[in-house]
């Protein structure tokens, strides 16, 4: 039971952008790959498509237009300061053809590949991603919970995404401790 949550955290950590580099693999590199031995993933990730579990003065059913039914993430960078907020996160992302495998990097990258000479995670982008009413709002708040007495929030912008996205190429994740 312990391992499951820890795996979730590991997966979150390994997708940190600062360790990733998008790179297209040329034909000569591909010719050195004999067979594939990774996995092909298809599926969907949905966030609060039909609301969340919290009900209070701020959160509620999606049918209640006076309430927010999306997920919310907030963080405080200064002690006793205000809070950055990513609010009302909801929608879904469906994909087919996300691939994952471990790949040896022994050359290329302006000579850095030969110096690296180790394995990386290769995440093959799905050709097509369909976003279905995916949205979130960037804001700042006066305290950690929007249900706090006297809470004030300033919304900066709301991002909404729907439709098809085309993503090609591979994401190579280099472990560099």
């Amino acid at each position: 039971m312990k391992i499951k949550f820890q795996t979730f955290i590991l997966c979150a950590l390994t997708s940190v952008n600062c360790f990733a580099e998008m790179a297209s693999i040329n034909d000569s590199e591909l010719s050195e790959v004999t067979g594939q031995s990774g996995v092909y993933l298809s599926g969907e990730v949905s966030i609060n498509e039909q609301g969340g579990p919290l009900t209070d003065s701020y959160f509620g059913e999606c049918t209640d237009l006076t309430k927010s039914c999306g997920a919310r993430l907030s963080f405080q960078t200064q002690e006793s300061g205000g809070w950055f907020v990513i609010d009302d996160i909801k929608g879904s992302i469906a994909f087919e053809g996300l691939t994952f495998q471990v790949k040896e990097i022994t050359s290329g990258f302006g000579g850095d590949g030969a110096l690296f000479n180790k394995s990386v995670m290769e995440i093959g982008m799905p050709e097509s991603i369909r976003m279905n009413d995916f949205e979130f709002t960037l804001a700042t708040g006066s305290s950690s919970r929007p249900s706090d007495a006297g809470y004030q929030q300033l919304d900066f912008m709301t991002v909404e995404m729907s439709g098809e996205l085309t993503l090609e190429g591979n994401l190579l994740v280099f472990p560099t401790p």
């Binding site: 820890q6 590991l10 950590l13 031995s37 394995s119 280099f174 560099t176």
Partner: protein, 829 residues
């Protein structure tokens, strides 16, 4: 090799002992049958013996090359009062066929007991009270049945052909160590073995053949006592309350088996060597919780089990421990075998089913049951270059539990390099093979029945691990629809192995295990169940989260793994929903020296990870049935509505596994080293070498995360994760033009469609037929719903080894999350 004369002498001595026991003038009585009794019997011509026996043998020892296994305090008496006799009636008759019939029946419930089992250097030496012992065993029984020695000869065997038929009722079978007992209570056993052959073959080997063995075991309760005043009783003699129970057990067995024993073991001139094989025609095994054996209570069971077991050259010797120093544990009974092949097919594994439904299913095979599907388990134990297969049974158990107990000095190796060992999960016509399973253990396992004492000992059966090196790995997964057999499945494509969400399964793991799991009686619901207390420590280990299928072993590895897990009052109950697991309190720490990509020892590292977890009152329910019918990529309750929303409708069948967990992450308790924290460390001294120093780098710390209901004072919702696990078809699209890695040609966007022989083609979407859609590739489909009201991180800190803590975030809060992921993994071609 056992000389025939020796064998005959052995049998003669045994028969003489039996005769002495049963005819002892002080305790047995020859009775003439009354005229009234005989008048009701036509053709009666036998002999009836009423025997009242109370026997006690100080020591019965078996010596092998000068070292002995001694059964001490061997007694036969009444079970109710051991000062009274065990009463039997025997009827001996010659049947018309010429067969000799020996009927037997109990007149009361008898007890056969062995008080101590010790290893001795010489017979008859009085042992000191604290001399190590395996503990004691007892069997209570009320038996009725017969053994008929047929007037025929089995070809090739000099001996007899027996029809054996007996029933035991009101039985108990118990194990006692240091005043604590674990026993089967209310046991009944029905056995029929017609045509049993017992004799000597031309090679001089003792031969036992069971061509028609049938047995059914029913156990009302598996009970535990920590009161030394109790001995083989259902009701505690002091508190007058029923002893706590783990639940009920039921087993049904139909097999045929052959066994030979020859003289001479693995060491010295004495000992024995056993060869055996068995075919299981049908077996059913189940555990019931708070059951009335009809419609009340719920059961977990493996039903419709078939299989075979083949044991080659099992040697039995009494040998001294080969370990030295503190690991030396004296003489033991060494069981070593050259090879053991075991294959089992479980047709249906049921969770939360009633006994009535199980009984109906066993009879007709059609009654619907709450099944997660079936399993095939194939294990081949064979010697490797480094390990043999030997278990030495030594006396004493865990050193702090008392002088009685069992220590198993164990070395076992499962070979799977040619995929002779594997594990298969079958559901709704699809199969997932964990291919090429290899595993080993090497170290000590201890068994003690312990009583709660302080913070180190708990009520129940304590299974201890002492420097037990262990490891397992699979070469990859093989997945197929409608595979006709395990061999057919072996021909399917090998794909990468990865951790499966919800199951906690990793494709490979190894390390050294210390600690214990103590299984106590009673759950959280009702009177019965299992309570687990445990402290486990894995050190110097590694764990794979992903392994490529190319045979290189490259993958994603947690290397330099040190992992400890602590469970307090984890209670297991079977309910109509399935297996329910409640965790009173649990905490763990996983310290990974290197999170590597590539080779587990030399792959590039992301650095060190430490994951600490502390929960109170968490729950999990494992139930039958997977995701069922679902809409992926859209919203809709049926295929029409789903496709109208641009979704893809999938029917994942009625079987599968659902795991629903609720975790309550609690505030840290510094003094007890319990907390929720995630630490990532990089830039350590010696980073990139095998000798980096933990604690010398820069750390990013997500500290003290907790759950609540959106207010600090309440935490009733927790962090919930619901997993639906199925083996299911999915759509796989070609990502580029031209041949793939297997040389199969197609255009970008074409669908992969499987052929019956395991090969595949690519078909343009416009040309897809209903038959093509039915033959989409099969993969591991995991639907995960994670939802929580609030998850609070106290702080996010950056920690410098000399500069100390610097707070990056003074708070991080996640609220109102409900995330569903639906991922199907198939091979990458």
């Amino acid at each position: 090799m056992l000389d025939r004369m020796e064998l005959k002498n052995f049998l003669r001595i045994g028969a003489t002992l039996l005769t002495i026991l049963f005819s002892h003038p002080a305790i047995s009585e020859m009775k003439a049958m009354s005229d009234d009794f005989l008048s009701g019997v036509s053709g009666q011509s036998g002999l009836t013996i009423d025997a009242q026996m109370r026997a006690e043998i100080g020591e019965f020892a078996y010596f092998d090359d000068g070292k002995g296994l001694a059964l001490q305090g061997v007694r036969l008496s009444s079970a109710l009062d051991q000062a009274q006799t065990a009463d039997f009636q025997f009827e001996i008759d010659i049947l018309e066929s010429g067969a000799l019939s020996w009927g037997f029946s109990s007149e009361n419930v008898s007890r056969f007991e062995i008080e101590e089992i010790r290893f001795v250097d010489a017979p008859g030496i009085t042992a000191a009270l604290d001399d190590k012992s395996l503990g004691g065993f007892f069997l209570d029984f009320d038996i009725e049945g017969s053994i008929t020695l047929n007037n025929i000869q089995s070809p090739g065997v000099e001996g007899g052909v027996y029809d054996i038929d007996f029933s035991i009722k009101d039985g108990r079978l118990g194990y006692r160590t240091n005043g604590n007992e674990l026993f089967l209570d209310g046991m009944s056993l029905d056995v029929s073995s017609l045509g049993t052959v017992l004799g000597v073959n031309p090679a001089g080997e003792l031969t036992l053949s069971l061509p028609n063995f049938l047995a059914e075991l029913k156990v009302e309760a598996l009970r535990f006592s920590n009161n030394p005043n109790n001995h083989g009783v259902t009701i505690d003699v002091d508190s007058l309350t029923a002893l706590p129970s783990y639940g009920s057990i039921w087993a049904n067995l139909d097999l045929n088996a052959d066994l030979t024993i020859k003289s001479g073991g693995a060491s010295g001139s004495q000992g024995m060597t056993i060869n055996a094989s068995a075919v299981i025609n049908r077996a059913d095994v189940a555990w019931g919780d708070d059951t009335d054996w009809l419609n009340a209570g719920a059961w977990i069971g493996a039903l419709g089990v078939t299989g075979s077991v083949d044991l080659v050259n099992l040697t039995v010797d009494v040998l001294d421990d080969t370990d030295v120093g503190v690991n030396y544990n004296g003489v033991g009974l060494a069981l070593a075998f050259e090879r053991l092949d075991a294959s089992f097919h479980i047709q249906d594994f049921v969770l939360g089913e009633t006994k009535s439904n199980i009984d109906a299913y066993v009879i007709d095979g059609l009654t619907p049951v709450k099944s997660i599907g079936g399993f095939d388990i194939n294990l081949s134990f064979a010697e490797s270059d480094f390990l043999s297969n030997v278990v030495s049974i030594q006396a004493g158990g865990n050193s702090s539990a008392g002088y009685q107990g069992i220590r198993l000095d164990t070395q076992l190796n499962i070979s799977g390099s040619a995929n002779e060992s594997n594990f298969v999960y079958n559901e709704d016509g699809s199969s997932l093979m964990f291919s090429g399973l290899e595993a080993y253990v090497d170290g000590d396992i201890t068994l003690d029945v312990t009583a709660a004492s302080g913070t180190d000992s708990y009520d129940g059966l304590r299974v201890g691990f002492e420097d037990l090196a262990f490891g397992y790995k699979v070469e990859g997964y093989r997945v197929a629809k409608n595979a006709v057999s395990v061999d057919d499945l072996k021909t399917k494509d090998l794909q990468a192995a990865h951790a499966i969400g919800g199951l906690g399964f990793s494709p490979a793991m190894e390390g050294t295990l210390n600690g214990h799991i103590t299984l106590g009686p009673g759950g959280q619901i009702g009177q019965e169940g299992i309570t687990v207390n445990s402290d486990l420590y894995v050190t110097d280990g590694s764990m794979a989260r992903f392994i490529q299928s190319d045979g290189t072993g490259n993958g994603v590895w947690l290397s330099g793994l040190n992992y400890d897990v602590h469970l307090r009052d984890m209670m297991l109950d079977v309910t109509s929903d399935g297996l329910r697991i409640y965790e009173g309190e649990s905490w763990s720490k996983m310290d990974v020296t290197d999170f590597r990509v590539g080779d587990k020892d030399s792959g590039a590292s992301f650095g060190r990870l430490i994951l600490e977890s502390y929960t109170v009152g968490s729950e999990s329910i494992i139930s039958a049935g997977g995701a069922g019918q679902i809409c992926i990529g859209g919203i809709g309750g049926d295929s029409t509505a789903c496709e109208a929303d641009d979704g893809r409708w999938e029917d994942r069948g009625t079987q599968g596994i659902t795991i629903a967990t609720t975790k309550f992450f609690k505030n840290s308790i510094e003094s007890e080293d319990k907390r929720n924290r995630i630490t990532w460390e990089t830039g350590r001294t010696g980073e990139g070498t095998p000798t980096q120093t933990n604690g010398t780098g820069m750390q990013l710390v997500f500290d003290n995360f907790t759950t609540n209901d959106g207010t600090d004072s309440l935490d009733t919702y927790g962090f919930r994760s619901d997993y639906n696990i199925d083996i299911s078809s999915t759509r796989v699209l070609k990502k580029s033009n031209g041949p793939d890695s297997n040389g199969v040609d197609g255009d970008k966007g074409d669908e992969k469609i499987m052929n019956a022989d395991g090969t595949y083609v690519y078909v343009a979407p416009s040309a897809l037929t209903p038959a093509d859609i039915a033959n989409r590739p099969v993969g591991i489909a995991v639907r995960t719903r994670t939802h929580f009201k609030e998850l609070d991180f106290d702080r996010v800190n950056l920690v410098h080894p000399t500069g100390g803590d610097s707070t990056l975030l003074y708070g991080l809060k996640l609220q109102n999350f409900d995330i569903t992921t639906d991922i199907t993994a198939t091979p990458l071609d």
